[in-house]
């Protein structure tokens, strides 16, 4: 069922991480969250990052999402050195290259779906007409064409996560970074969201899934296991095998 790295899909490298470490100083102790992780992610990969809590999973996700910078090591995003960037440059990378999907959706409660999806476009400085048009189109793409003017509290959990996914997609990012995207959903809705991600992958998007659930990770084509701040294994799944699992 699982094979080694020789069968990795070929494509331009989006994320290139070499031997990155991250440590935090907490009081008198230094916590080594990442102890030297090396990872390459290519375009149109569907990757799951797994690991128990305390494995450095979240820290790695924050690195990949350019929310944080490594203590040491090299990180290139589309060939650009991220490790050396300042806050505003990181913000620009997050805005244009990364689409975040959070476990708790993180929608702005008082804004409509449309306004929520427009947010990344606002920060990108897109003019209002184009912005609204693109946001509305993206919402239609995720099946929420009739919920444009609803606020989050008027939507179901699954719909909220769809809005969040639309928001992640709207700026055509290089990667979609989904952190436990089904964690707050029932299993049926969770499956719907996973098949939406599958469709996005089929359409050519690069998806990075962070999860501790094997069932969810199984949707991905490649799984990276972390333990104690190190990569324990990095395995590819047979695409056909996965698809059989997902759709039967």
């Amino acid at each position: 069922m699982l094979t080694t790295d020789t069968m990795r899909p070929r494509g331009p490298i989006v994320i290139d991480i070499e031997n990155i470490t991250k440590h935090y100083v907490m009081g008198e102790e230094t916590v080594h969250a990442l102890r030297g992780v090396t990872l390459q992610i290519q375009r149109n990969e569907y990757l799951a990052i797994m690991g128990p809590s305390g494995s450095g999973k979240s820290t790695l996700m924050n690195m990949l999402g350019c929310l944080d910078t490594p203590s040491s090591g090299r990180y290139e995003f589309n060939g650009r050195d991220v490790a050396a960037m300042d806050d505003d440059e990181l913000a620009a990378i997050r805005n244009r290259e990364i689409g975040f999907v959070f476990q708790t959706f993180n929608l702005l409660p008082r804004s409509t779906s449309l306004r929520n999806v427009e947010l990344p476009l606002i920060y990108a400085g897109i003019d209002p007409e184009t912005r609204e048009e693109r946001a509305a189109q993206t919402l239609r793409d995720v099946g929420l064409g009739d919920r444009l003017h609803h606020k989050p509290n008027e939507l179901s959990g699954g719909q909220r996560q769809r809005v969040a996914i639309a928001r992640a997609l709207v700026n055509n990012p290089s990667i979609i970074l989904a952190d436990e995207p089904t964690g707050n959903l029932d299993s049926k809705t969770g499956e719907e969201i996973m098949s939406l991600l599958e469709n996005l992958y089929q359409a050519g998007n690069t998806i990075i899934l962070v999860t501790h659930e094997a069932d969810i990770a199984r949707h991905a084509r490649r799984t990276v296991f972390l333990r104690d701040g190190l990569v324990e294994s990095d395995v590819l799944a047979e695409a056909t095998e996965i698809q059989t699992l997902a759709f039967t």
Binding site: L67, D88, A91, R94, N95, F100, N106, L108, P120, Y123
Partner: protein, 416 residues
């Protein structure tokens, strides 16, 4: 720059949403600013009013008239020194005018004698005590602006002949003739009948300073005939060019010393007064009132500003996760800073605007209740208070907005 305006517009939209969804809280916070702005605006208006009042009263004195009197308006030496001087006589006007006429380069124009004292004026059942009675000549018109709402000032013939005619101030007319036309009526001044020939236009009184409203004027010969027993006289001299006041003073001092035959080694035994000197003693008073008043009312605005700062801090804390999300979606530090600054400024602007409306209503109410008090809201004051509101918002919002902009996105996203 275009980008900045883009962000500004978006921040305004966010601020509007925020205020709408927290109506009670926004209103209560804005209340602090409302009270502050009302207090400061009213104080500003009052200071303007005091200033206008002073100036109006000063205008009665005239800025191109020198007053030759026994005493100085601003007493520098002891009072007795002045009191023991020889009296100023109305007769000085004649030689003075002669001297002025004889000197072709004179800086002086015209000398007018004025005698005055307080007397009771009566008409029928009505009487007014302590009315300032002015005895002067027809020339008085040349050195003072006297407007009559009814009738006229006395003419040259009445002036020379000492006719029993009188021009009365607005308040005096009001008190004596509540329901009648005063013109051609006969009033009793100190028991002597005088015919009313004119009523002065209302000038308004302010802090008991000079006002035509409570004075009456009669021809000088008539004044002397009936009231000279107790009176005080002065000579008012109009200056040709008010930019040459110092030269005019020197010239007039010379003439007066000659007329009063003051020996060269002696000091002047009379005083020269002018509006400017009076003003320069009053101005510091006026300024201290302004500074103290604005400081005290400014404190209330300061308290309002602290309220805004507090609520913005609360808002930042509450929305930590939102800030994290916004940062994850690509909001830069500047964008977050601007967003919270705009929120606090919007609150202050709303407060300032409501405050102005309240202040305007209060001013109208005060104006209706106390017509004598010169109060008015000026365009300058409106603009100033709006600028003050915006500044209050920016200053009080800065610390919380700065905190928000520096939040670490990872920590902020994890915040519950």
């Amino acid at each position: 720059m275009k980008r900045f305006f883009y962000e500004l517009t978006e921040s305004w939209k966010i601020a509007a949403t925020q205020m709408r969804s927290n109506k009670t809280r926004s209103m209560l916070t804005a209340l602090g600013v409302i009270i502050g702005i009302v207090a400061v605006t009213l104080m500003g208006t009052a200071i303007n009013g005091i200033s206008t009042g002073f100036d109006k009263s000063m205008a009665v004195l005239g800025d191109d008239v020198l007053y030759v009197g026994q005493e100085s308006w601003i007493q520098r030496d002891d009072w007795w020194n002045y009191r023991s001087r020889r009296k100023i006589k109305t007769e000085y006007a004649e030689p003075l005018n002669r001297m002025i006429g004889a000197s072709p380069n004179s800086n002086l124009l015209l000398a007018v004698p004025v005698s005055s004292w307080f007397r009771t004026v009566r008409y029928d059942e009505n009487q007014v005590h302590n009315v300032y009675i002015l005895g002067t000549t027809f020339d008085f018109l040349a050195i003072s602006t006297v407007d009559c709402v009814k009738g006229r000032f006395f003419n040259e013939v009445e002036s020379r002949g000492g006719a029993n005619v009188v021009v009365i101030g607005y308040d005096v007319a009001d008190a004596l003739f509540p329901s009648e036309d005063p013109i051609a009526k006969s009033v009793l001044i100190n028991g002597q009948p005088f015919k009313v020939i004119g009523v002065n236009t209302r000038q308004g009184t302010f802090l008991g300073l000079f006002s035509w409203d409570s004075m009456v004027a009669v021809p000088l010969p008539a004044f002397k005939k009936y009231f000279s027993a107790k009176s005080e006289s002065e000579i008012r001299v109009k200056v040709k060019d008010k930019t040459k006041m110092a030269e005019a003073r020197d010239e007039l001092i010379g003439y007066m010393r000659r007329i009063r035959a003051v020996p060269p080694e002696k000091e002047n035994d009379f005083s020269l007064n002018e509006q400017q000197a009076f003003k320069s003693t009053l101005d510091p008073v006026k300024n201290s009132i302004a500074v103290a008043g604005l400081f005290i009312t400014g404190l209330s605005l300061f308290v309002g500003a602290i309220g805004i700062m507090n609520i913005t801090f609360v808002s930042v804390k509450e929305r930590t996760k939102e800030i994290g999300t916004r940062k994850a979606l690509g909001a830069r530090r500047r964008t977050i800073l601007l967003q919270f600054l705009i929120e606090s400024t919007a609150l202050c602007l709303v407060g300032g605007f409501i405050g102005l409306i309240v202040a305007f209503l209060l001013c109208s109410a005060i104006g209706a209740a106390l017509p004598a008090f010169p109060i008015s809201i000026s365009v300058g004051l409106v603009i100033t208070s709006m600028i003050v509101s915006v500044l209050t918002g920016l200053v009080s919002g800065f610390a919380p907005a700065w905190t928000a902009s520096r939040l670490d996105p990872v920590t902020a996203l994890r915040y519950e």
